[in-house]
């Protein structure tokens, strides 16, 4: 894959979903015979046209039948295929959940679930098309790894990694078209290893995932201007949890803030806190995310603002929590 600044900008325009299916998948299929891409009537929306015309024999559209899609994916995987199966995150992670539990989690079929439009990308479509519980469902299933890339370059890296392993996994794609760029140039992606995105300074560690990484980059900048120094981490792999880096964070900071476009119950913040709870002493944690609620539909910024997930809101929340601590 040619990682140039031009491509990084082009991929950003396509968004994480367009990059995954319009860029990464054709590349993967060009190198692998035994790959399949399955969709539930979302080929056009997902930018698969190029893939479908190049690799019609490595593609299957099962129609609007998500459960059947996961079962078919499992059957293909049992016979040696590396299967990528995708639809909206809410449908793949919730409607198909029992098929996922049976076939990916229990029987370990080599299927990569790709949930697109995770979080509230489809903000105006309303709650039916949002996914703010998908991490919780997937994280609770044994044998399934959970990835949540921060931008389009990271999406490419996660997809390439997915194709290279025989493990079932869930890849959560967030953000829409014109997805903010976190990585302006190539970087080292190590599955299961958090990335520190800033100079290590201050007493507050901000851990973000998915679209919230770019939002947190801006929040951290804003806080710096206000005299609150923070260090920002990108948790692109939610499961398995990067315990090594978390140990360092627990030792080095006085406040931990987790930021996710997801319910605060069961998500990335919960994963961090479950590990933190077993430590003899560790810093306090603030959960920034959907506060166990659904919200009214509207523009993406409107919904994120209601949820407290715009960079301004994230910054003011961290500032207030830090003030409280002092």
């Amino acid at each position: 894959m040619n990682i140039s600044s031009l491509n990084i900008r082009k991929w950003s325009m396509l968004g994480q979903r367009g990059t995954a299916f319009g860029v990464a998948m054709p590349e993967i299929a060009s190198k692998m015979d035994n790959v399949k891409l399955l969709t539930a009537d979302l080929a056009l929306l997902s930018g698969m046209d190029r893939y479908v015309s190049m690799y019609p024999d490595k593609f299957l559209n099962v129609g609007i039948a998500e459960q059947n899609m996961i079962g078919i994916a499992a059957g293909l995987a049992m016979e040696g295929d590396v299967v990528f199966a995708t639809t909206y995150a809410s449908f793949i992670a919730v409607r198909s959940l029992e098929h996922v539990r049976q076939h990916l989690s229990y029987l370990k079929c080599n299927v990569k679930l790709i949930g697109s439009s995770a979080g509230v990308v489809a903000a105006k479509s309303g709650v039916s098309h949002w996914a703010t519980e998908d991490i919780a469902f997937m994280r609770a299933l044994p044998n399934i790894k959970v990835f949540s890339p921060a931008d389009c370059l990271e999406t490419v890296k996660v997809m390439e990694y997915a194709a290279s392993t025989d493990e079932p996994m869930y890849i959560r794609l967030s953000g829409g078209l014109n997805c903010p760029i976190v990585y302006k140039e190539d970087y080292e992606f190590e599955p299961g290893k958090m990335v520190c995105l800033s100079e290590k300074k201050g007493d507050v560690a901000v851990i973000a995932t998915g679209l919230m990484v770019s939002e947190s980059v801006k929040a951290v900048k804003l806080l710096e201007e206000k005299g609150v120094d923070c260090t920002l981490y990108n948790m692109h792999t939610i499961k398995p949890l990067d315990k090594e880096t978390l140990d360092e964070i627990f030792a080095d900071y006085k406040l931990i803030v987790t930021v996710e476009e997801h319910n605060v119950i069961g998500g990335m913040g919960s994963a961090v806190s479950e590990y933190k709870a077993i430590k003899e002493s560790s810093p306090r944690q603030v959960f920034v995310g959907f506060d166990d609620c659904f919200l009214d539909a509207g523009s993406q910024r409107y919904v994120l603002e209601q949820a407290g997930l715009t960079y301004e809101k994230i910054a003011s929340r961290i500032e207030a929590e830090w003030e409280k601590r002092k």
Binding site: N68, A73, L76, D81, H99
Partner: protein
């Protein structure tokens, strides 16, 4: 494809079915107070006997060879017929059969263990046919002429995703996929037509573009003919008319025997009835 057969074949399968029923009863007795799925096991004995005794192409010595037919149990309540069939095929020994519910055993919980012929671990109904479609698609791609056989329960047809699967198998013209419906007319709570009706079943399946064959699911010759009745370009479904608990008078057509404990006295009576039949 046609299955060449003679009178000996029919008699051999009948004898095999009888041994399988006796083994099923031994297994039921061994499960003690846990009870077991006798009703739905006894209803599909002949179906499994015909599959493993004649129809299917498999190699016990080479259980993961790609070019083999697959049997995917969708109604996992067929365990008391399936494991005795695997014993007849030579995948497992009789003594292991009796340990099918023992802690630490290879058969407990009906796992997927391809090395002993267990191709799939189901249990939750309605999911396996989709997996079978995936396998059948791979067979087509690899241009092997093996088949996927899926055993479905009739009560199981209440599950919605099964109909997603029926729709797609016909859409992909999977004439290497054979679904057998064990039409014993009883789900756990009673007559399927009282709990949640599925009739007119054959008409429904035909309207989903499947090739439908009806047969007597306890008559070996009728089953042979049904498996022979194939049509190019369409998935094949056999609606096998059966009796839940077939072969044991006090179990036949009794909903409480869906899952039940078998006492020593009942066991002895059942063995006598089957031996004399």
């Amino acid at each position: 494809m046609s299955f060449t057969r003679n009178t000996d074949d029919v008699n051999n399968i009948k004898a095999m079915a009888k041994r399988m029923r006796l083994n099923a009863l031994d297994m039921a007795l061994e499960s003690g107070n846990n009870g077991s799925h006798l009703g739905g096991g006894l209803s599909c004995i002949e179906i499994l006997a015909v599959l493993y005794g004649k129809v299917m192409d498999y190699d016990v010595a080479n259980p993961e060879k790609f070019e083999r037919d697959r049997f995917i149990p969708s109604k996992n309540h067929c365990v008391l017929a399936h494991l005795p069939a695997l014993c007849e095929a030579g995948y497992i020994e009789k003594n292991e059969l009796l340990e099918f519910q023992k802690d630490g055993g290879r058969l407990t919980g009906y796992p997927m263990r391809k090395e002993i012929g267990l191709e799939y671990s189901g249990g939750s109904l309605g999911m396996a046919i989709s997996v079978g479609i995936g396998i059948a698609l791979k067979f087509k791609e690899k241009k092997v002429d093996n088949k996927v056989y899926i055993l479905l329960g009739d009560g199981e047809l209440n599950e919605g995703s099964i109909w997603e699967a029926f729709m797609s198998a016909a859409h992909y013209h999977l004439d290497n996929l054979v679904a057998i419906i064990d039409r014993n007319h009883l789900s756990y709570d009673g007559d399927t037509e009282e709990v949640m009706g599925i009739e007119p079943l054959s008409t429904k399946l035909e309207s989903f573009n499947w090739h439908v064959t009806e047969c007597d699911g306890h008559d070996v010759e009728s089953l042979f003919e049904a498996f022979d009745d194939v049509l190019e370009g369409k998935p094949h479904v056999i609606v096998a008319e059966t009796v839940k608990g077939k072969g044991v008078s006090f179990i036949e057509n009794r909903r409480e025997w869906h899952h039940h404990r078998l006492s020593k006295d009942e066991y002895e009576q059942a063995i006598e009835e089957i031996t004399k039949a």
